[in-house]
């Protein structure tokens, strides 16, 4: 085989094969993700509004100070926490029950599974628009149901702070319950059959079988589901933006909506960058936790 020389040989050197293969990917990510992130990190130390021609002015921690004391960040963190707790909690309970239902083999299972799994593949926009119709006071199904079976009056869910929160939580939980179900299902079908057979012989109660056999196999996947859904729900934006636009008032203003409003409605660009970094920190912690659990799980099962 002929060996190329010079520049080409430098490229083809087996020692550089790894770096060369990942170089294009790293370049794109640097350009479109890492550099912008560093840019906005820098920006968070300046005073800057994107709708004026004034140049950014260096101001140390001014933006952070402003964000932590003046803006609604604590309120919106609280709102986000309520939505995360409510939605992820609901997803876990419903997802687990659905997984138990689908863990055995029965006729038409694959087709029925398709109907249950489809919501998580839908666009957030489609889900948001749908639930907007669903909650609509005059023609919406919810209102019509309440009207004809319970109160006899029109029912306006999204107009009260608590109602709007429930509306958002319910829509999000509906969309993402299949995700949890899929993970739990993977755990349930991985339990070796002989464990159950042994338990049969030992005449274990249903509850003891569940806690000593089923649960240990599902535990790590449950934890991963909680972490993954928490990461995703902390970022919730599309659904809230379209369904309630953060309202009524600021009742459903999650951190994502707050950053969006700060950046693109009030044009307090540097403040929004500072907020973004507080959010980024939370996501990095959660992501490392997620990968740690995955590593643990992989080393456990051989």
């Amino acid at each position: 085989m002929k060996r190329s020389t010079g520049f080409l040989a430098w490229f083809m050197d087996p020692k550089r094969r790894g770096p060369m293969l990942i170089a294009p990917a790293i370049t794109v990510l640097l350009l479109v993700n890492i550099i912008p992130l560093m840019w906005s990190f820098g920006l968070s130390f300046f005073k800057y509004r994107a709708n004026t021609l004034k140049l950014p002015k260096f101001s140390w921690f001014y933006s952070y100070e402003k964000v932590l004391t003046k803006d609604n960040i604590w309120e919106s963190l609280q709102t986000t926490a309520i939505i995360v707790a409510g939605s992820v909690g609901m997803q876990m309970v419903l997802g687990f029950l659905l997984a138990l239902l689908f863990a055995s083999q029965f006729p038409l299972r694959k087709i029925l599974l398709m109907f249950v799994l489809a919501p998580m593949m839908l666009s957030n926009v489609a889900v948001a628009i749908y639930f907007k119709l669903f909650y609509e006071p005059e023609f919406g199904l919810l209102s019509q149901f309440v009207q004809s079976f319970i109160t006899g009056e029109m029912y306006v869910l999204l107009s009260t702070p608590a109602g709007a929160l429930i509306g958002v939580i319910f829509a999000d939980a509906w969309q993402w319950t299949p995700f949890v179900m899929l993970l739990v299902l993977a755990g349930l079908v991985s339990v070796p059959k002989h464990l159950y057979e042994a338990a049969e012989i030992d005449r274990m109660s249903w509850w003891r079988k569940f806690t000593t056999i089923t649960f240990p196999y599902v535990r790590s996947l449950l934890l991963l589901a909680v972490l993954f859904r928490t990461i995703e729900t902390v970022k919730i934006f599309d659904l809230v933006f379209i369904l309630t636009n953060g309202g009524p008032g600021t009742a459903t203003e999650t951190i994502g909506v707050l950053v969006y409003r700060t950046a693109f409605q009030f044009f307090r660009t540097s403040n929004s960058a500072a907020m973004g970094y507080i959010l980024l920190f939370a996501v990095i912690v959660l992501t490392s936790l997620y990968l740690y659990v995955i590593k643990q799980r992989e080393s456990e099962e051989i």
């Binding site: 794109v28 199904l141 509906w174 950053v259």
Partner: protein, 287 residues
């Protein structure tokens, strides 16, 4: 193969599951029905369950009648539809190309700090898009990329790249390296090992990855909302704008639009059921 605890249940279980699936699926079913109702049937209280199906809503997505005439004008939706297809297609193609090569690198020629790189790459996918969008918006404005196809395709390529890398790496990791080593012994060059031995074995993986990436891009809202203009806008922000007015919202029209999203997704969900878990967890959980 180890025996797994999948029990056998009969039709009784099927009927129970059908009831649950029906309740769960009911919202979607209602949308599909609404899409085929005529305008007056849509607003009927209580909802009309039996009606003559009509395709007028689907027609109205692309052509709407003017207020005082019977003339129909194009709504411009065909442009958004084309944009969605073009932009997601291009960006998925690019991301898959770059991502597969990188995934092969991470899987077969690990670097020092391989895991750190992979962690950073996953983090860029996990981090809230709203953080990246603020500086990107400013950079695009300065460089004139805002509102162009190049800009949004570049953005979506970067958006799909972490996903493609993690997915494809999980497929490469599953392959048996003995075949590759054997062909190297036979004198095959590195590129023919990659193209001739590895790629044919991960064809299913490539298909799954591209379909998932296509769905993610097709569904994406925020980037398109902020980085495109009237000519380059994709479907999700175009749909969201339709309900912007609040008053006189045409529900049948919206339902028809949602239908355009739902029906292909159903087929895909059915066909990819075995890869779904890997797909929705970005390749971090295989089974």
């Amino acid at each position: 193969m180890k025996k797994r605890a999948i029990g056998q249940s009969g039709w009784l279980w099927t009927s129970l599951a059908s009831v649950v699936a029906f309740i769960y699926f009911f919202p979607v079913l209602f949308i599909i029905l609404t899409a085929f109702r005529s305008r007056s049937d849509t607003l009927a209280t209580p909802p009309k369950w039996i009606f003559t199906p009509t395709f007028e809503n689907f027609y109205h997505i692309f052509f709407r009648s003017m207020a005082n005439s019977t003339e129909y004008v194009a709504t411009g939706f065909h442009v958004y539809f084309f944009n969605s297809i073009y932009i997601s297609g291009m960006s998925v193609l690019l991301a898959l190309l770059i991502g597969t090569i990188a995934a092969y690198g991470f899987s077969r020629h690990p670097l020092r700090g391989n895991d750190t790189y992979l962690f950073i790459i996953l983090t860029t996918r996990m981090l809230p898009p709203i953080i990246v969008i603020v500086p990107i918006f400013l950079i695009f404005r300065i460089t004139g990329l805002a509102g162009t196809y190049t800009g949004i395709i570049l953005m979506y390529t970067a958006f799909n790249l972490p996903f493609s890398i993690w997915m494809m790496k999980s497929f490469f990791d599953e392959l048996n390296t003995e075949i590759e080593d054997a062909s190297r012994m036979d004198g095959a060059s590195e590129s023919s090992v990659f193209f001739g031995v590895c790629i044919p074995q991960v064809k299913a993986g490539l298909a799954a990855t591209s379909v998932f990436a296509l769905i993610l891009t097709w569904n994406e809202f925020l980037f398109s909302l902020l980085l495109t203009n009237k000519l380059t806008r994709t479907m999700p922000p175009a749909m969201a704008r339709t309900i912007g007015g609040e008053i006189n919202v045409d529900y049948g029209l919206l339902a028809a639009m949602i239908c355009l999203f739902i029906i292909p997704i159903f087929l895909i969900t059915y066909l990819l059921q075995n890869q779904l878990l890997r797909g929705v967890t970005f390749g971090t959980i295989k089974k």
